[in-house]
Amino acid sequence: MPTREPPDPRPHRARPLPPDLARRLYRLMLTARMIDTEAVALQRQGVFPAYVSLRGQEAAQVGSAAAMDPERDFAFPTYRELAVALTLGVDMVGYLASHRALWHGGLYDPMASRFAPINAVVGGPVPHAVGWALGERLAGRTGVAVSYFGDGASSEGDVHEAMNLAGVLTAPVVFVCQNNRWALSVPNERQIAGGSVAARAAGYGMAGVTVDGDDLAAVHDATRAALERARSGGGPTLIEALTYRAGPHSTSDDTSRYRDPAEERAWADRDPLVRTRAALEAAGAADAAFFAAAEAECRAEAERIRDGVSAAPEPPGTDLFDHVFREPAPHLAAQRRVWEEEVR
């Protein structure tokens, strides 16, 4: 995998995480990895029609989400943010229900979880984060919105409009671009003019940070700093977490058509789980007993979630009609009667 020299924006250097935090985040990463592995298996078994794996992005997601204040902040995901959801305490059965195609946005409560519905439009949710953040400022509250999007999404007009709006309106928002090097079959070289998403920040007068997205401490630290800046009225930050999509785009994808298997093999050395475990060991923050216990407990959690989503009931057909509007709608009532008579 060709090394990229991120240009302009200051590469972020990590301070080591406090041991208890490091252990907690490692367990979240491990749980995410295990849920992900179960989810791929569920797709193979035909339980999920398809699945998008976050394998390789655990540090970028857990590290950034763990810096958020789950009481005050709000995350706006796209569709690959399983570990962000996990870190924020989202009901993971409800999260995965989206991949079982039970309900597009997921079956968790997005407002209570402070994690917006899963959104399949790349770039689309980015301005929502700015709007939500502006709402905090207008209300005199101190919450920060965190917007998650990919390297491919950065090409969308909405991302530009959102960043410019955030700058002009001084919205307390943190943009986290997980640059996993690929947007489906298209690598950074054919996606990002100039090669760096974070470098765009300067053009909006915004802080821009490039961070090793597989370095848990670095991601956490960069996000914490950005959240603080936003919270104290310093405006938006754009963080580009350089990571790697270790697997295919989705279970339906075939990477052999477009990327060198050597690149995937080389990735193994960067596996954020391996690296975080090594960091824990090097710091003397965790021993074999910890890792054994974590392995067992995270696996149990992943299996519970797997079983939960497999067994989740299908939504009733009345759900087709029940969430469209809050106010009465006679045309829908009539169509619901047709459905009852001719389909149910």
């Binding site: 997005p110 917006a116 959104n119 700015v130 939500w132 207008l138 909405d158 410019n164 509007f325």
Partner: protein, 355 residues
Amino acid sequence: MSPTATAGTAAAATAATAAERGRAAAPPAHLTMRDALNRALDTALAEDPATLVFGEDVGRLGGVFRVTDGLQRRHGADRVFDTPIAESGIVGLAVGLAMNGWRPVPEIQFDGFAYPAVDQIVNQMARMHYRSRGTAPMPITLRVPSFGGIQAPEHHGESLEALFAHVPGLRVAAPADPLDAYHLLLQSIRGDDPVVFLEPKSRYWDRAPLPEGGLAAAPELPVGASRVVRPGRHATLVAWGAMVRRCLAAADLAAEDGVELEVVDLRWLKPLDADAVAASAARTRRAVVVHEAPLTAGLGGEVAALVTERAFRDLAAPVQRVTGFDVPYPAGPLEPQYLPTVDRILFAVQRTLEY
């Protein structure tokens, strides 16, 4: 505005027929549709601190049509604010604000500049409540100065109702006169669903007498209801926005020949008041639907289908459609040749009477 159209141009009156102009010449103590909309916004801002008004040039300038005039001064630059020129971002901002408990009333400066926002309107604003299984509030009223008739530049004469009426999760409204505009806009803002609110810009300067007791005392219809603005018995004309006046002008002329046309102002375009419209058509046995938008896949087809489905046996003739042609909205001198004329409406009435 882009590049040249704006408030109060003399051109605004150009497209109006003599009959329409006649009506517009009213004595004082009257107010225009623009005033009525301005007061509705003012009321909404005053009654609910969650209400926000924003968009291009709506703040300091007061909007290119002055519909938001004075609102920033009265309610502050936090609640009435200018945005950069980014229609998709404006609607996206509204979605995020709504999720955070606000009641956004964004403006798209002109109809044709709603197109860049279609993704946020269709894929986000209209679906977020559904996607979140009813948990994410989405009480957005998207105001769009709409329709043609003021000799404006390109993209300033579009009719968007068919596009948005087709989108599940949206409500669509269009006022036809000042007093009704006030209630329609307030109902849209107070309601908890997203509404696309299409304001007939050629009618912004129409005046109506202010009722005793003020605007709030003007008659208020239930959400979703159409209204008969002129009763008649030989055929039903169905219209919305600026075409209501044109239909009234046609009805005046027809009356001179003893033909009594009923004119229905649809008001709500989605969901639309199908039963009431069909009942009128069933009674008169003939219907003509009139709109500015191009014919093909316009809302006229929907109205015709709804009426025909409900009143087939009572209809003496197929529902007639008098619409813009299937051509891009034209400039200046071609505009009155594109828009439905009183003559074309009367030809259609004749066709249905003689069917």
